[in-house]
């Protein structure tokens, strides 16, 4: 890999505070979030370059600036009704739409987004 590419990406890693999470895990998280039969988050959210996103929820970007920590983000995905009983967002963890490991991967992925 070209050294000029490594330097900015290292900078990026350090400012999003997610050093040490392998690319592959982020990819898996992204796949779970995009897959219609898994998270299908694109049904409601714009995420990066995901195709044909809905607009029921807010665009998912700059996540670390919107949540205290990963645990709080995880709770939003586990059961959004805890924060807003009227929410349209399905309780992915509580209703076993995604398992704990899958949710953790999605959390890592979202946390990595600009």
């Amino acid at each position: 890999m070209n050294i000029r590419l490594i330097v900015p990406s290292l900078l990026l890693l350090s400012c999003t505070g997610m050093t040490g999470i392998p690319e592959q895990r982020l990819d898996e998280g992204r796949q779970i979030a995009f897959d219609r039969n898994k998270g299908n988050c694109l049904a409601c959210h714009v995420i990066e370059d995901g195709e044909a996103p809905g607009n029921i929820g807010p665009a998912l970007s700059a996540i670390p600036s919107r949540f205290k920590d990963k645990r709080q983000l995880r709770e939003q995905i586990w059961d959004a009704t805890r924060f807003n009983p009227e929410t349209s967002m399905p309780p992915f963890g509580r209703n076993n739409v995604l398992d704990a490991e899958e949710i953790d991967k999605v959390v890592d992925y979202l946390w990595s987004l600009e």
């Binding site: 044909a52 809905g54 739409v97």
Partner: protein, 287 residues
């Protein structure tokens, strides 16, 4: 209170029904269909101030100009035409005992579709037009038809066609509290969250109407009962309203409920009452 209710009846009937119906019930506070109807419409007026009540008969095409164009192109050679013809032929074919559908149904079945579902006092339940058709068959010793497509859809297509342009006219008789209870059950069903995805029908069609789920714009539920049965491109054939109900339930991974179950008939009663005054335009086409 009485004056207010009366007022709302007057304005509702003058504006929407051309004057009739909805006999005044001694309604408990939790079940006031006319108030529900007003709130329901107010919600959509806020979301879609440019729409008039009859526009809602066009479903999502009233609010999605791009999909509307292809819809109008399809309607020039409507794919439901064959079903209307088949339905008419079926309707006029006598049963083995020599009697006909026309002998069972009010006004010989012609131009009555917009008055269904209705409350049946003797049976003590909501009777949809599909159910009335099958009741007629069974009373005449014919096997009931499956409810989601095929001959039933054709018969309903013909019957709907004879009601075209007539305003949906649903009554909840005041002198039988079971009718109001059935309405209330249908309403509760609509707002009850269910399924693995924890959606209510209202989550998508009330709360998020006009928003996009993936690339699909969500239609308002006002007018949802106006255009059935429908030729759906996705089905490649005609299907009934309850087939669509079942599909939306499956979408949210909820326990399946069969067509013409009491739950779905009560649901249709509620939704149709909300749509009172909207001209029927069945049979329809949808993507």
């Amino acid at each position: 209170m009485a004056a207010k209710t009366l007022n709302s009846i007057l304005s509702s009937s003058a504006l929407l029904l051309g004057g009739l119906l909805w006999l005044l019930p001694a309604a408990p506070a939790h079940a006031d269909p006319l108030q529900d109807q007003q709130d329901f419409r107010q919600h959509y007026r806020q979301l879609f101030p440019e729409l008039t009540l009859p526009d809602y008969a066009e479903g999502v095409y009233a609010i999605d100009p791009i999909a509307r164009q292809s819809w109008q192109a399809i309607e020039e050679f409507p794919p439901y035409e064959a079903a209307i013809e088949q339905g008419e032929a079926l309707f006029n074919t006598p049963f083995k005992n020599g009697r006909r559908y026309a002998d069972c149904l009010p006004d010989k079945g012609i131009a009555i579709a917009h008055e269904y579902p209705r409350w049946d006092r003797a049976k003590g339940e909501v009777i949809t037009l599909a159910r009335a058709v099958n009741d007629c068959r069974v009373d005449n010793r014919e096997a009931p038809l499956p409810y989601e497509k095929g001959d039933m859809a054709s018969l309903l297509a013909y019957l709907a066609f004879t009601s075209r342009g007539k305003p949906i006219t649903i009554t909840i008789p005041a002198d039988d509290p079971r009718a109001l209870a059935a309405y209330q059950k249908g309403k509760d069903f609509y707002y009850q969250r269910r399924g693995q995805l924890n959606f209510a029908c209202a989550t998508c069609h009330v709360q998020n109407a006009g928003r996009q789920l993936r690339s699909e714009i969500l239609s308002p539920s006002l007018g949802h009962t106006s255009h059935w049965p429908t030729y759906r491109l996705k089905w490649g054939e005609m299907g009934t309203l309850h087939r669509r109900f079942r599909e939306c339930l499956a979408q949210i991974k909820a326990r399946p409920i069969p067509a013409q179950s009491p739950e779905f008939r009560n649901l249709e009663y509620f939704l149709s009452f909300m749509s009172n005054g909207i001209p029927t335009n069945g049979p329809g086409t949808r993507k």
